[in-house]
């Protein structure tokens, strides 16, 4: 039953967005998010929409995968729309009992809905086109300057990639232990909440034991291969900027200037 969980949402196709350096994608996503918050009128969303649509088209990822991410925030989206719709003061266009809908309310609700959807779709494009490992690599390199301030960037990135790597392993392990205990008559489904929580002990104890065992083995294997932290460590696939990354940076900055220009003009 745990087999169906897919981690991250990486969608494996070959496109120019996929091939971009993860740092560019991280930076681009950040700029896109900032631009959404800079904009405070509908006109500002036109370049954002154009930017978003062209990136989606270039990424070759089916649009329905982007919308999938929306499902998780559907409730949040509805809540914000409803709150904005009913709680904004202004010129009343419709009223029923104590509820009033104002012109400003409609505008704000629509505005917020667009902002939230763009936020989610924008960040899903990054996770759909970048593997978790590339992401941590990008973060490590991109935030490398923090090392000067004593932040253990490499160590944190390493921890992140190990954690990501372990998730599917632990999911599989959970599935196995669950089946083994079910074969011994364990029942994970029936009973009240206390009984259910208790029935998880035969699952959780072996799971923790095996996680620690694996962590131990991994630490040993890393040390046996001479791992001693980030200092002086080279990469198998070092991140190197290519021509397309420069183009992407230019596009991102052009986009940012358009947004700022619109903000100044209107």
């Amino acid at each position: 039953m745990f087999r169906d969980i897919t981690l991250g949402q990486y969608y494996p196709v070959d496109s120019c967005i996929h091939r971009l350096d993860p740092r560019v994608k991280l930076f681009g996503t950040l700029i896109f998010l900032i631009s959404l918050f800079l904009t405070d009128n509908f006109i500002g969303y036109i370049p954002a929409l154009i930017f978003l649509i062209s990136v989606i088209a270039l990424s070759k990822v089916p649009f329905k995968y982007m919308v999938k991410g929306m499902r998780a925030i559907l409730f949040l989206l509805l809540l914000s729309v409803v709150c904005n719709l009913f709680l904004t003061r202004g010129d009343v266009v419709f009223s029923w009992w104590k509820l009033k809908i104002t012109k400003q309310g409609i505008e704000l609700a629509g505005f917020m809905a667009i902002r939230l959807s763009f936020l989610v779709i924008g960040s899903s494009i990054m996770t759909l086109t970048t593997t978790p490992n590339q992401l941590t690599d990008g973060l490590e390199k991109g935030l490398g300057f923090l090392k000067i301030f004593g932040v253990p960037v490499h160590e944190v990135a390493m921890m992140m990639s190990i954690a990501l790597r372990f998730i599917p392993i632990l999911v599989e392990e959970t599935d196995k232990i669950m089946k083994a205990q079910m074969a011994r008559g364990a029942d994970f489904e029936s009973g009240n909440i206390v009984k259910k929580a208790k029935s998880l002990i035969p699952l959780l104890v072996p799971l923790f034991v095996s996680a620690f065992r694996r962590a131990n083995d991994l630490a040993m294997a890393m040390e046996a291969r001479g791992y001693r932290g980030g200092k002086g460590r080279t990469k198998l696939k070092p991140l190197k900027y290519k021509g397309r990354d420069a183009v992407a940076y230019i596009v991102i900055f052009a986009y940012l200037s358009v947004i700022i220009a619109l903000k100044v003009i209107f």
Binding site: I177, K179, A180, G185, P206
Partner: protein
């Protein structure tokens, strides 16, 4: 207490890009008190098949009958099925969780709804049968050696007194002494309790000595289902699917090819030595 597997097929992740056929029209009968060796290369579908035997997986098509009743019938309790068909997973020591050995073995019988006393009695018998010394009973299972842990975990399933005991690679990762120990114990259990045993392995040596029947699987289908000696005589076909007849059989087959009059149906070292000696007139 027989089990009949009738035209069973199983597909993983049907309807997705990851769809893969694991079992393909399996027909198999497990008789009372029989010791069946289920052999196959990694990925041949043997582990998938054994998970069908106690209802952990439901066949995509086909039926499984236990004592004449279809196990996917809604009135056939899965709990009852799982206590009649004991399944020991690969590396069963990874499922141990209690603070001491004895309570861990009691877990199965307690789930069957037995009283503490009855459960303890069954746990005690099972531990004794797997030759766990009394001094270990109240130790943490995590302090035991690998072989001991394995035996405790098998005892945890045996304590439920199943009619069919299914073991998925019970000898994986054990040294030769530990391996022989477990195999001998399984044979004793079969003789003392009269239960059937299904032993899954990829090594012919594991099953050669005690199995009454050997079932060979390849790519989700059954290739051979026969007595050990006649399965081993297909040594060339076995090698084609990544398996090997036991050393003894292969040596005898080679001798026969060289013109020596030996009996190639011998499957253990003692009888093989006899037939070779006889052929040399010693």
């Amino acid at each position: 207490m027989s089990m009949i597997i009738n035209h069973v097929s199983y597909v993983y992740n049907p309807g997705t890009p990851m769809e893969s056929k694991a079992l393909n029209d399996i027909n198999l009968v497990i008789n009372d008190g029989e010791f069946v060796g289920l052999i196959g290369h990694t990925g041949s579908g043997k582990s998938t098949l054994v998970q069908h035997l106690n209802g952990l997986l439901k066949p995509t098509s086909g039926e499984i009958y236990f004592n004449g009743r279809d196990i996917s019938d809604s009135d056939f309790s899965k709990k009852e099925l799982r206590s009649r068909v004991g399944l020991v997973f690969q590396y069963p020591e990874h499922q141990l969780f209690e603070a001491d050995v004895f309570s861990d073995v009691c877990f199965g019988p307690r789930n069957q709804g037995l009283s503490q006393k009855e459960a303890e009695l069954k746990a005690f018998t099972a531990l004794k049968q797997l030759k766990i010394e009394d001094e270990y009973f109240y130790q943490s299972p995590f302090d035991l050696s690998g072989g001991q842990k394995r035996r405790v975990a098998i005892a945890g399933v045996l304590a439920m007194e199943p009619d069919i005991l299914v073991l998925d690679e019970p000898t994986a990762g054990l040294d030769p002494a530990g391996r022989d120990e477990i195999l001998n114990m399984l044979n004793d259990i079969r003789n003392e309790r009269g239960c059937s045993i299904v032993l899954v392995s990829h090594s012919m040596e594991d099953v050669a000595e005690f199995a009454d029947r050997i079932v060979v699987m390849d790519h989700g289908s059954i290739v051979f289902d026969d007595e050990p000696a006649s399965v081993f005589s297909h040594s060339a076909e076995l090698e084609k699917i990544g398996l090997r007849a036991p050393e003894v059989t292969r040596a005898l087959i080679k001798l026969k090819k060289e013109g020596f009059d030996v009996d190639v149906s011998c499957i253990n070292i003692e009888t093989a030595v006899e037939t070779i000696a006889k052929c040399f007139g010693i």
